[in-house]
Amino acid sequence: MEPGEIHALLGENGAGKSTLMNVLYGLYQPDEGEILVDGEPLKLRGPSDAISAGIGMVHQHFMLVPVFTVTENIMLGAERTRGGLAGFLDRRRARREVVEVSERYGLRVDPDAVIEDLPVGIQQRVEIVKALTRDVDLLILDEPTAVLTPQETEELLTVMRSLKAAGKSIVFITHKLGEVKAIADRITVIRRGKTVGTASPEASRDELAALMVGRNVRLTVEKAAAKPGKPVLEVAGLVVDDDRQIRAVDGMDLTVHAGEVLGVAGVQGNGQTELIEAIMGLRPTLAGSVTLDGEQIDGWSTKRVLRAGVGYVPEDRSVDGLVKEFSVAENLVLDIYDRPPFAGGLALKRDAIAASAKERIEQFDVRTSSAAMPVGTLSGGNQQKVIVARELSRPLKLFIAAQPTRGVDVGSIEFIHSQVIHERDIGTAVLLVSSELDEVLGLADRVAVMYRGRIIGIVGPDTPREEIGLLMAGITPEAATEQAEARPATDGDAPTSEEEE
């Protein structure tokens, strides 16, 4: 690592990128080996050692206290005290430092804003400012773009360039090839905890992807044209609140036909999660209706919705999708355990469960040493395949996939994508929600862009990314409005809802 260099660390999920960086930041202790700074071996016993050695880190999941202000968060851990007296905070000086640092590097933040009111991109900026106030020379950014809109990502890249110009070194951890090529001076590819190669940003996407997974993978999804049939899922005027009783889905209309993939694009937190949970009966609907094959299903229990022929891949597999302590076999029947042939009366039929597990593991290429292994010991990609295998193993009318490839390695992404397309081709309606625009554009036959609880526009998958990016940010160009399926009245309402917020 050299001063003023942006060094990208590229690797599949579970390759050990984050672990390596956590060691570097002093969160984990190395079992073997050592870290050298300016030729001197460095012993890091905790993050404070790392900070004093000039290493700062912006975590994938921000380490901010939501109810504190920007200044308070930045001073946290290095509180300034008045006249050196313990217990007396010198907020004014801390605030001055925040303003100074943010101006020096062109990182505009309001020092008095409360974190939970700020958009994700700004929260990230706060994290960066926090690291910079500690006088770091080396900044580690762990998957910084995972939660950003294309525009926010662009801004982040600009910030990174200005930091570089100021002589700071940056380690940029990611598995997105495009960003790496756009910004990195040097690329190190990691696989299974080992460095497998260094590349220059001129290397092609295919080359980098091949280095990451160790073989050549297709980045585009091959598929025939869709043959849409009758409408299967119809959502009309749906209103849903989120956990904080704040309106998340606000009078939404959506139709998914048999044999098509409808991709929902949008920045996270625009109601996608709540929409799907409402369809699945996991969240109460306040108004509007959800119809499956002509039958109104809102108000049904989740079990009944699943029984009616809906398959569901939840967006957070470790929270909602899997019971980590359960075996692979048990997870493969998590939502059909009480159905024949897996149960008779009150008793589980373990032979049938085991036999079916064996079949699914083979069919869906789940890499596990045995079906009895706890699913938590599998890699992210294989865990996801377990969920996909479970949901696609019964006849479906509607398949809902939320972030089906989040945190999944390239090899598994390819496999999961082909399964989604296969499900479409046998006539299932597919509702795909993803924050990866590439994924939506690659898989979807129609792309619905969701913004503040509504569909702001429905476009074809060939629409330029910039246009979709604008839609995701809530800006509707004339071209997009024309194609919008929503009634004109809905569009007219959009500005009012913004004012309310």
Binding site: M1, H7, T19, L20, Y28, D31, K303, S318, G321, L348
Partner: protein
């Protein structure tokens, strides 16, 4: 390890290449798998951990409980508890303690006195709970009957039976993600209903016993249903509710005993009428030995709970809710319904434990202390048994033996019965803190580390 070239030493690359080198060196050895598995495990686990929300305290606790090498840690915890117990005996005995005042002059006095005290006490603990050689030789030369030989075992099993039920109650709830601190209250209400059915209902033998046992189960189930439904409907925390219901149950019992129709008319103190003989659990080895059919019910209950947990759809739901309620809900399992069912079953088991206390041979009438501490001991038993049904049964057996042996230790060695309670508590403390036990005995982690460094150097 060769020292890396400082020129090329980019800090972010070093750990990787170092680890790589270490791994390669280990690949050549037979121990490669043992040594690298923890590394690989931690590497794959960490990114996932970072992405997850913090697990609830309960889940973390269960994971901790199971992470330790259970058999080794359990045995070592027992050893540690026995050692600490010995120290306590010495300290609490003024005579022995006085020999320590001149230990530098005559150390043999102190050591002999301590050894005699401790060894005799633990010998009595063993004789009172498992096997008494004197009774055996007495049986051989005809000075006492075979009952005396089996008496220790009989006592142990008598104390074991109720603990199995309350232990299972706590374990079942824990597996479903609920802290059932209410075993005591559930057992109390169980004992009340069982006793009422036992002396108030004029029923024929056989049927009477069945009704009394079921009444006990029903009492516990009702007392479990309350926190279950409150949790499911209102989100009230079961720990608070069950603790409060313990108080209510205890004072319900104290109040009920002195009511007309319940209190023994021939007595002025707080004791109820005696349960009819037709409602009492039959003794298994004749009238002189206290062991009764409750222990058979306990074994049956253990089997039933094991089946329920591992082989039934309900158990599947219960374990799924316990391990990850979000995933269970997403998979269409009604978490609220499962919570209620868990608490009803847990209460039912504790109620059966309570029924044992009045239908068995420990007592035949209600008194304020009729349930003893079986509800609270059940928590310890469940933890010692690692929340697994047969483990719970074994843990109950150990606790039963400690209590049976403690009685003899008290009367023969003059060591107070409370020491047994302290021993039980110590065992559980050591089990709940496996890291402490491992540190004391320098277990695996330390050994593995030594092994790894020696290998890395050697190769």
């Amino acid at each position: 390890m060769s020292s890396p070239n400082p020129q090329s030493g980019s800090p972010d690359k070093e750990p990787a290449s170092e680890a790589q080198a270490a791994q390669e060196s280990l690949d050549n050895t037979e121990r490669a798998e043992d040594a690298t598995t923890p590394q690989a495990g931690s590497a794959t686990a960490t990114p996932g951990d970072a992405a997850e929300p913090k697990p609830s305290l309960g889940r973390l606790f269960v994971a901790n409980l199971w992470a330790a090498n259970t058999v080794t840690v359990t045995v070592l915890s027992l050893v540690l508890a026995i050692v600490v117990g010995a120290i306590l005996m010495i300290i609490s005995d003024p005579e022995v303690l006085s020999t320590y005042s001149y230990i530098t002059a005559r150390p043999s006095d102190a050591l002999n006195a301590s050894w005699t005290l401790v060894s005799e006490a633990y010998a009595n603990l063993f004789k009172g709970s498992v096997f008494d050689p004197e009774a055996f030789s007495g049986w051989l030369n005809g000075s006492n009957g075979w009952q005396a030989v089996l008496a220790p075992i009989s006592e142990t099993l008598t104390y074991t039976a109720p603990l199995v039920f309350t232990g299972l109650s706590v374990a079942l709830a824990f597996r479903g993600g609920l802290f059932n601190i209410g075993g005591q209250g559930q057992a109390t209400v169980g004992v009340v209903l069982a006793a009422l059915a036992g002396f108030a209902l004029p029923l024929p033998p056989g049927l009477h016993l069945l009704v009394a046992v079921l009444a006990g189960a029903l009492g516990g189930a009702i007392w479990g249903f309350i926190p279950g439904i409150l949790k499911a409907r209102t989100g009230a925390h079961e720990v608070i509710i069950t603790i409060m219901l313990n108080y209510i149950g205890t004072y319900l019992l104290t109040w009920l005993i002195v009511q007309n129709g319940v209190q023994d008319p021939n007595r002025t103190d707080a004791i109820s009428k005696a349960v009819d003989p037709s409602a009492q659990l039959p003794r298994l080895l004749g009238d002189n030995l206290r062991v009764h059919a409750g222990i058979l019910l306990a074994v049956l209950a253990t089997w039933a709970v094991a089946w329920l947990l591992n082989r039934s759809t309900l158990g599947f739901e219960l374990r799924a809710v316990g391990a990850n309620p979000d995933a269970a809900r997403t998979a269409g399992i009604s978490v609220a319904r499962t919570f209620v069912l868990i608490m009803v079953f847990a209460g039912l088991l504790a109620g059966l434990g309570g029924a044992n206390m009045v239908l068995g041979s420990t007592a035949s009438a209600l008194t304020p202390l009729v349930v003893a501490q079986i509800g609270f001991d059940g928590i310890l038993v469940a933890l010692l048994g690692r929340l697994k049904p047969w483990g719970v049964a074994l843990a109950a057996l150990l606790f039963g033996a400690l209590q049976a042996g403690g009685n003899r230790m008290q009367s023969y060695s003059g060591i107070s019965l409370e020491l047994v309670t302290v021993l039980q508590a110590l065992i559980v403390i050591f089990i709940a803190a496996p890291a402490l036990v491992k540190a004391i005995f320098q277990l695996r982690a330390a050994r593995a580390a030594r092994l790894q460094t020696s290998l890395a150097k050697g190769w």
